[in-house]
Amino acid sequence: MTLSDAQLVERAIGGSQDAYRALTDRHASAVFNVIARIVREAGAAEELAQDTFVKAFGALRSFDPAYKFINWILRIAHNTAIDYLRRRRPDTVSIDEETPSQAVAEALVDDREASPFDRAAHADLREDLETALAALRPEYRRLVVMRYLEDLSYEDIAEILDLPMGTVKSHLHRARAEMARLMARGGWGPGGGTSDAAVCNPPRGPARRTG
C-alpha cells in the first residue's frame, strides 16, 4: 500500500525514519531539478537540495495537511535557491558563455528520454533549448521548469511562488516568447531556412531544421 504524503508526514512526526526516507525518495528529484535549474551549479544544487529537506523536516509540524506537500517543499526549495543566488552574486548570465546547465545536464541522469538513440537524435535540439532556458532570467526560468519540466499546474505554481495566477501566466508567456526568439535565432524558425530568423541567422546544419 502506498501511503499519501500526509500519512508519511504524520508518521515522520511520530518519529519514523522510514517515513522521512520515503518523503525524501519521493520528492528528491523534483526538488533537485528545480534547484539545479535555478542555480545552475551541480555541486551547489545537491547541497541546497539537502538543505531544503533538512529545513522542511525540521519544520514538519508547521506543515498544513490541507496543502500539497510537494508545493510546500518546492516553495522551500525555491526560496533556498533564490537565497543562494542573492548571496552568491547578481545574476548576470551571458548567452555566449558555455552554460553551466549544459554541464549539469550532461553530468546527471536523464530519466525523461526513452533511449540513447533518442538522446543522440535530439542532442542539438536539447542543447539549443538548454541554452535558451539558461539565458532566461531566474524569475522566468523557475516558471518554465515548474510548468514544463515538473508538469505543475498554474494553480500550484501560483501557490508555490505566492504569485497571482495572472502573473504566472503572463510571465510564462514572456519566458516562452523569449526562448522562441532565441530558438528562431538559432535556426529553428517556422519553415526552417525560409524564416526571417533563419535567413538572418542561417542554421548550423541540416540536423537543426525542423520537419
Partner: protein, 169 residues
C-alpha cells in the same frame, strides 16, 4: 509525428508567431520533453537523513494510536480495580476527599484575602509616588524629553519592522 520534438518546436514557434498562447503552451510542453530532468546523486536520501540527526521533529508519543489506547485502557482498569476492591467504602472515601478539598479551599481563600489586602496597601504607596513623579514631570523640559524618547522609539520600531522581513527573506 505529433510527438517528434522537432515538429513540436516548429508548432511552438509558429504558435508564438501567430499569437496563440494556448497552442504555444501545448507545443512547448511537447518540445520540452527532450530536456533532461536532473537527478540528485544515488546517496541523496542517505545524506539527508545523516544531516538530519537530532534536528528531525521530536517524536510525538501521542501520535501513535496504540499508545493512546494502551494508556486509556490502563486508566480504566485502575479505576475498575479500585472500585471493586473497596466495595461500598468508596462512597465514604469520596465524601472524605470532598471534605478535605473544601477545607483546603477555605484556608486558601483566607490566605488570598490577606495577600490582596497587603497588595492594595502597597499599590496605594506606588500610586502616591506616581502622583509626586507626575507633578515633577509636568514641566515643559520633561515633556519635550518624553516626546523625544517616543520619537526615537517609533523610529527604532519602524526600522525593526523593515529589518525583520529582510531577515526572513
Amino acid at each position: 509525428m505529433a510527438h517528434d520534438p522537432r515538429h513540436a518546436v516548429r508548432d511552438w514557434l509558429e504558435a508564438e508567431h501567430a499569437g496563440q498562447p494556448d497552442a504555444a503552451d501545448r507545443a512547448f510542453a511537447r518540445a520540452a520533453a527532450v530536456l533532461p530532468r536532473l537527478q540528485p546523486s544515488a546517496r541523496f536520501a542517505d545524506a539527508v537523513l545523516a544531516r538530519l540527526g537530532g534536528s528531525t521533529a521530536a517524536p510525538d508519543p501521542w501520535a501513535s494510536w496504540w499508545l493512546r489506547g494502551l494508556i486509556g485502557a490502563a486508566l480504566v482498569s485502575v479505576g475498575v480495580l479500585v472500585v471493586s476492591l473497596s466495595g461500598g467504602g468508596w462512597i465514604s472515601a469520596v465524601i472524605g476527599s470532598v471534605h478535605s478539598v473544601a477545607w483546603g479551599l477555605g484556608h486558601a481563600g483566607t490566605a488570598v484575602s490577606a495577600w490582596v489586602g497587603s497588595a492594595l496597601t502597597a499599590w496605594a504607596g506606588v500610586a502616591h509616588a506616581a502622583v509626586v513623579l507626575g507633578r515633577l514631570l509636568s514641566g515643559p523640559g520633561a515633556i519635550l524629553m518624553l516626546i523625544l524618547n517616543l520619537t526615537v522609539a517609533a523610529a527604532a520600531l519602524t526600522a525593526l519592522r523593515r529589518l525583520v522581513p529582510m531577515q526572513e527573506n
